[in-house]
Amino acid sequence: MEQNENFLQVRDLVVEYTSGGQVVHAVNGVSLSLDRGQTLGLVGETGAGKTTIAKAILDILPNPPAKVRSGEILVDGQDILKLSEHEKLKIRGNKIAMIFQDPMTALNPVMSVGEQITEAVLLHNDFTRTQAEARTVEMLEMVGIPGQRYVEFPHQFSGGMKQRVVIAMALACDPELLLADEPTTALDVTIQAQVLEMINDLKTKLNTSMILITHDLGVVAETCDNVAVIYAGKIVEFGTKRDLFKAPAHPYTLGLFDSLPKMDDDSKELHPIPGLPPDPTNLPRGCSFHPRCPRATEACSREGEIPMIELSPGHFCRCIRTGGNN
């Protein structure tokens, strides 16, 4: 069953936003694959293109301004970008569901939350209305919201509860692939743990694959199998969780780890990565990280694509200074 092994494959995805005559290079040739039941973490700074990748997979990027320039997104062997709108409907929601990042805007302010979940349930199952409503109540209670709040509106919920509603909605249709866009960012730590546990339970129960977008490396350590580090719309390092945490190779990944507080470190200050992410309308030549990179040499800023180097089986790094040269 080769189909099953590579449930999701993204090849050379390029997404651009056009705004005011300027082209924003949000995603520049991302390739990744995901097996059934696996979790892939997408880690990177704000604006690195993580959310854009997820939305491109669902093909819900608002167009204009966003445009998928090239690339393939294969779900179960079918290229989503080539499907007709009608065929896409079978995949969206049924096979893929997304947990949106901002629960404040991801819920329709004029529909009761129960109604919104019921709508999703009805669209994907041959349920009667009563069954669908029962299922909704069940989902709400699963995420820790009392069933009688079915009739309440989003503005009557707190931010964390809204986030849980969004999660309930995504899980209501038992998706095969879950795109979780910072599902825990808006939550406090106790609820965060509950939500992660809940997502993990579901994953094992239904063999759901998941792409987890986050900038919390702790969350990555807890949930992911593989990790992709994204910088300026490109994957700069890809490997198993073990590879990445034990032997981070790319200077950017090293920088990310350095900017975390450590238990066994006595130094008084953290070491954040200097500078800011590059302007996506005008990316630096060569390696996009070289202006901030402590190890950069002249070769790094030379024109041309930096290739991915396989350091060990399954562990890739996009840096010319690693892979033996160090």
């Binding site: 329709n108 999703a120 069933g147």
Partner: protein, 294 residues
Amino acid sequence: MTEAKTNMTRKKSRKQSMFLAVLKRILKNPVSCIGLIILLILILSAVFAPLLAPYSITEMDYDSIYALPSLKHPFGCDKLGRDLFSRCLYGGRYSLSLGFIAAICGFTFGQVFGIMVGYAGGKVDNIAMRICDVLQAIPGNLLAILISTTLGSGFGNTILAMTVGGLAGSVRSTRAMCLKEREMEYLQAAKSINCSRATIMYKHMLPNIVAPAIVGTTMSIGGTIMGAAGLAYIGLGIQPPLPEWGAMLSAGREQILYYPHLMIFPGLCIAVTVLAINLFGDGLRDAIDPKLKD
């Protein structure tokens, strides 16, 4: 299952109570309450005109030509001796229905197409907006006159004339609301759970942008009645002997210096209606603002 059932009933009561809540908020506001009462009186008196009117609208009393208001003829009589009070009552039927129908047509058209255009964006949007530009380049009144003269006068054509003038504006404003709303993530969320385009547009988007349009429409009813009165005044629109308020104004203008009551009473009817609608519309705007949920 029983739980779900109680849910259902709860939800129904909730939906009802939303309508009731809006009504309650309108009634709480004394100004809009007065507007609503005046409006109801006007509508009811137009509906029950046959019962209320002391005379028929075409009945001529040769003894009371140009009669001033008296107990026999509360609003006086016109140049053919027809009772002005009865004609004003009946006139409400034409003026009010004209105003409401034209406003509702404009509202429906504006919402349906405005959302389509706003949600589709890109080329569709561009083309539709250029068509709106062309329509809006002609002043609304002029367009109404143009339509009335081309198609002829009469009730239906007057409604058409009054509707077309405002279409471009209402499509444009709905589209503008959509542009703001279409970037919102909940629409992407709706798309991600597999909602069809029509569902997204009319179930998710519409309720979010409809409130200002409802208020705008209520306000425009007054304007439409005035517009139709204007058409009738210059001899287009609804024709005599039908007693539309504007037509009555127009008929009375010949004698404005000697018998001003011929113009005062129909004019007063129009003014009171417009005032009532504006008062009500103001209260409605506050009542349906989702941010003012109590």
